[in-house]
């Protein structure tokens, strides 16, 4: 199978639904908070009572404009809403208010990093629409329950051009969008809670072919890892089908993360003529230039800009800068650490190394880190000014993580200050040499490897506190004598 894959290429487009973090819904004043009792956050408008009318929550316009700017896209004015008609119990009006013509954001792009360098992915459009409620099938024997708390929650659907070629690229693009929406503070981007959802349109064709193959749409993929797996599965499935002489059916498929497969949805679940037409209850919205400018003036630094600044301001490698800038909270933490430590490289290593490991271990967000940026900055400062060695620092970090104590207090309480007094180190070395005449003999007769043995003995004698560089230098001169 893998061998055959080489002759094929995939064409992938993503539709990403982002739940906007407004306090109230897109067209009603009901709250959007997650996890309330069923139907306690659905007002008359959300319930589609006879005679109710939608009123746009203007906060979403600001959010969409920010996203448009971050995607280097055009902002349409006027922008207008349309009705998308379909019957489903969790769609109370029997239509969804969405956008068809004149979506608020149109024709942008996003640059992603791939193993072959930077690649530009076109963004066709991003439009506003309302979320549906939820059907609950498990709790009621022979019946279904409807929870309309989510109905009317604002979504931005971001549609890419079919310019993504691999599952890895798809994830890079998705992560990049995730990073942008978090930077803009327009969504929490939590895929597990459904505040960011991804549908993947996938087709394959023989390398060199110019015509597109028949595509499928895979829904219900709720983590970065699953997006990668689902797309990879779908590519391999389609190649296998075509190589076996079968045809691809244009259909919607569901990803099953337990079995790592995709399966077709029942045709009833998606066979619809949506009969879009302009929403007569909402007039087209004219976005005044001043209004847009006011929002653009308020744009935060974006991940790409931050990355470039990290490279030029802190002389970080592109790779490190990219890692740090991808997450706004990590980037902020990093800058706070550097402010104290004055060492960008060492700060990067600590954040990506020790700190990351602990956070992962306890499944914590960096905002909830048990070692604050200030405390980590001081720890690194003590390495830089020679108070402690890197090795001791790691022990101290462990202690800080558990106790929350500051570095200087731990150093003082436990006497962990580095020994940098030449005379003190010399006397320790003299003692080690005196105690190991045999090894000294061997070393001097050419067994260079034993140098490490002496270093180890000295460090042990100093309980790890001796400055390693000084130990090296002094030991070398003594052994040569």
């Amino acid at each position: 199978m893998n061998e055959n894959l080489k002759n094929w290429e995939a064409v992938i487009g993503l539709e990403i639904h982002v739940q906007l973090s407004t306090k109230s819904k897109l067209f009603s004043g009901a709250s959007t908070s997650f996890g309330a009792l069923p139907n306690t956050q659905a007002c008359n408008i959300d319930l589609a009572m006879p005679g109710v009318l939608p009123v746009l929550n203007e906060e979403v316009l600001k959010m969409a404009i920010k996203l448009g700017k971050a995607l280097n896209a055009n902002i349409n004015s006027p922008t207008s809403f349309a009705r998308k008609n379909y019957f489903y119990p969790d769609s109370p009006k029997g239509y969804q208010i969405s956008q068809m013509d004149n979506p608020i954001v149109e024709t942008g792009y996003l640059d992603i990093e791939t193993e072959n360098g930077s690649k530009r992915i076109g963004v066709t459009r991003a439009h506003l629409e309302e979320d549906a409620g939820k059907s609950l099938h498990d709790d009621f024997e022979g019946q279904s329950g409807i929870d309309l708390n989510r109905a009317g929650t604002p979504l931005l659907e971001i549609v890419s051009e079919p310019e993504i070629s691999t599952a890895e690229e798809a994830v890079a693009y998705l992560k990049s969008i995730h990073s942008i929406i978090r930077y803009l503070n327009i969504s929490d981007g939590n895929m597990a809670e459904g505040s960011m959802r991804c549908d993947a349109n996938v087709s394959v064709r023989k390398k060199g072919d110019t015509e597109l193959g028949t595509r499928t749409e895979t829904k219900n993929v709720n983590s970065f890892r699953f997006v990668e797996k689902a797309i990879q599965y779908e590519i391999e499935r389609q190649v296998h089908e075509l190589e076996s002489g079968n045809k691809i059916t244009q259909e919607t498929r569901l990803y099953d993360s337990q079995k790592n497969t995709t399966r077709p949805m029942r045709s009833k679940e998606f066979a619809n003529d949506y009969r879009y037409f302009p929403e007569p209850d909402l007039l087209p919205i004219i976005l005044e230039k001043d209004f847009i400018q006011c929002i653009l003036d308020d744009m935060p630094e974006m991940p790409n800009e931050k990355k470039e600044r990290f490279v030029s301001q802190f002389s970080l490698s592109k790779y490190d800068a990219d890692l740090l800038a991808a997450d706004k909270d990590i980037a902020n933490y990093f800058e706070e650490v550097v402010k104290i430590s004055n060492s960008p490289k060492l700060s990067t290593n600590w954040i990506m190394g020790e700190l990351s490991a602990e956070l992962n271990n306890e499944n914590l967000n960096i905002r909830d880190s048990k070692v604050s940026s200030e405390k980590l900055g001081q720890l690194i400062l003590r390495i830089e000014d020679g108070t402690i060695s890197g090795k001791i620092a790691k022990d101290i970090f462990e202690k800080m993580w558990v106790s929350g104590k500051e570095v200087d207090i731990i150093i003082k309480d436990e006497g962990l200050e580095q020994v940098t007094d030449n005379k003190e180190i010399e006397s320790m070395i003299d003692e080690v040499i005196a105690n190991n005449p045999e090894q000294l003999e061997q070393y001097r007769s050419g067994k260079d490897r034993l140098f490490g043995f002496f270093v180890g003995q000295v460090m042990k004698a100093s309980q790890g506190k001796a400055n390693p560089k000084q130990v090296n230098d002094i030991l070398k001169s003594k052994l040569e004598k």
């Binding site: 006879p50 005679g51 009969r275 909402l282």
Partner: protein
């Protein structure tokens, strides 16, 4: 005292001067309703207890010198306006037991001004019809001749005001549903500019055409109440960002020197002699009052009916999708599955005219037909609106018959939808262009009244009422009431 013979203004004066109480006035109408409405069927719900409670409150406010602008005046509301805790059926089996959990802006505004609701009036199902024969609650009769229809869809409102079972009633107009029944029942009915009156809580038929208004016994009565209903409502995004206009200010001003346009396309059509005569008489009256008569052309006006019968059904097909038996309203017995629940609820809950329009609308919006029907209709709609804009550069109002004739017998047109749709041929253009229109009585034939229509430019309700009031100060047609 025959309280129901007083104009609204006289009733308001009487209440203020304590010549009679609101409880007396309200009881008087409730008695008339109980005496006559069994036959007319103009009310779906009579809210006797509510009315008397509110009348008593109004009387108390008068006693304490805390009276509201329209305190204690009775009114009937078309059963399309949601009223909290009171049945709101929209004339449909689908909502036959539906108690709205909130009140429409129109109801709330008038309630806040002290008006007393007598009840909810009968109507064509979901406001679809021109004869009030499509109501789930049975047909309404025309008080002038009970074998005849009152018009629709606001037939209950027109019938009850005409029979003096209520001094005034709210109504709605999507293609003529205020003006046509006003014409057929000898009343003054006004549909204001689209966006003047909030649609919040007014059950939607065709959102871009629906507009609330009133049927009354005179232009003066209509002005008094329409003013109270109007004004910006933040709950309706299509509501105009304008305060309620002062509709009484210009009412008595002369119309001398103002211009009336006669669209030649309307007058080229053959019309019954009695219609032509009534309109000619009205024109003569206006000439006598100093108005200038000018011929105007609305060259795309003949497209109005086909445009309307694409756009209105298209919008209704979506607006009525919410009636699915899931959350409220009628639900079929023992649904087998989800699809059966949807299908049978709608099959059993909607009447045939509603189904016909949902089908037409669904078809017109379907993939492959949208451009040819809906999109084209929207473009043509703009042409009709442009014709009016052009005409209003030369004239103040446009005059025509309201309806092709007087009322017709119940059952006469029910099997012929096209013939029924032609009832609205003169009224639909104003809806398409979002313009204000008024119908006022101007003649009769064989004991049945007939109305003329005046259409004004956008936001010029005051001018329409001024023209109507001038006419009514010089003629008696509006004073004629049926013998019931």
């Amino acid at each position: 005292m025959n309280l129901h013979k007083l104009t609204l203004r006289e009733q308001l004066e009487g209440l203020k001067k304590n010549e009679f109480s609101s409880v007396e006035l309200t009881s008087h109408y409730l008695e008339r309703i109980s005496k006559h409405d069994e036959e007319l069927n103009s009310f779906i719900t009579v809210t006797e207890e509510h009315a008397l409670t509110h009348a008593k409150l109004a009387d108390d406010r008068y006693k304490n010198n805390q009276s509201l602008p329209l305190d204690g005046l009775p009114i009937a509301h078309k059963d399309i306006f949601c009223t909290k805790g009171i049945k709101t059926t929209c004339g449909s089996k689908m909502l036959s037991d539906f108690e709205a959990p909130y009140s429409s802006t129109v109801y709330t505004k008038l309630d806040n001004m002290g008006m007393v609701m007598l009840g909810k009036t009968n109507m064509d199902e979901f406001a679809m019809g021109s004869s009030n024969e499509t109501s789930y609650f049975g047909p309404v009769k025309n008080p002038w001749n009970k074998k005849y229809v009152p018009g629709g869809s606001s037939g209950g409102s027109a019938s009850c005001v005409s029979a003096e079972l209520a001094p005034i009633a709210t109504a709605t107009d999507t293609g003529g549903s205020i003006r046509q029944p006003a014409s057929l029942c000898g009343l003054t009915g006004i549909k204001p500019t689209y966006g003047r009156v909030s649609r919040y809580g007014m059950i939607a038929f065709a959102s871009s055409l629906d507009q609330g208004g009133v049927v009354a016994r005179s232009a003066e009565d209509a002005a008094l109440i329409l003013e109270g209903m109007s004004g910006h409502d933040p709950k309706d995004s299509t509501s105009l960002k304008l305060e309620a206009p002062d509709l009484l200010k210009n009412l008595d001003k002369p119309i001398k020197g103002m211009k009336i346009g006669l669209p030649k396309e309307f007058f080229e059509k053959e019309m019954p002699e009695f219609v032509e005569k009534a309109i000619q008489d009205a024109i003569e009256t206006y000439k006598h009052l100093g108005a200038e008569i000018v011929e105007v052309s609305l060259k795309n006006i003949n497209l109005s009916l086909p445009i309307y019968y694409i756009i209105a059904p298209a919008e209704c097909s979506a607006n009525l999708s919410r009636y699915d038996g899931v959350r409220y309203g009628y639900r079929c017995e023992d649904p087998k599955d989800l699809e059966d629940l949807f299908m049978r609820t709608r099959e059993e809950g909607f009447g045939s005219e509603v189904k016909r329009r949902i089908l037409i609308g669904t078809y017109a919006l379907s993939a492959g037909f949208y451009d040819a029907y809906y999109l084209k209709a929207q473009k043509c709609r703009q042409l009709v609106a442009n014709d009016f804009s052009e005409a209003f550069k030369a004239v103040d109002v446009i005059l025509s018959p309201t309806t092709p004739g007087t009322s017709f017998k119940a059952g006469e047109k029910s099997d012929d939808p096209i013939e029924m749709y032609l009832q609205d041929i003169f009224t639909i253009p104003a809806n398409l262009a979002g313009l204000p229109g008024i119908s006022i009585p101007c003649g009769e034939n064989s004991g049945l009244p007939l109305g003329m229509q005046l259409v004004g430019n956008s936001l010029q309700e005051d001018k329409l009422l001024q023209f109507a009031h001038s006419y009514q100060m010089n003629t008696d047609w509006h004073k004629k009431m049926p013998n019931i």
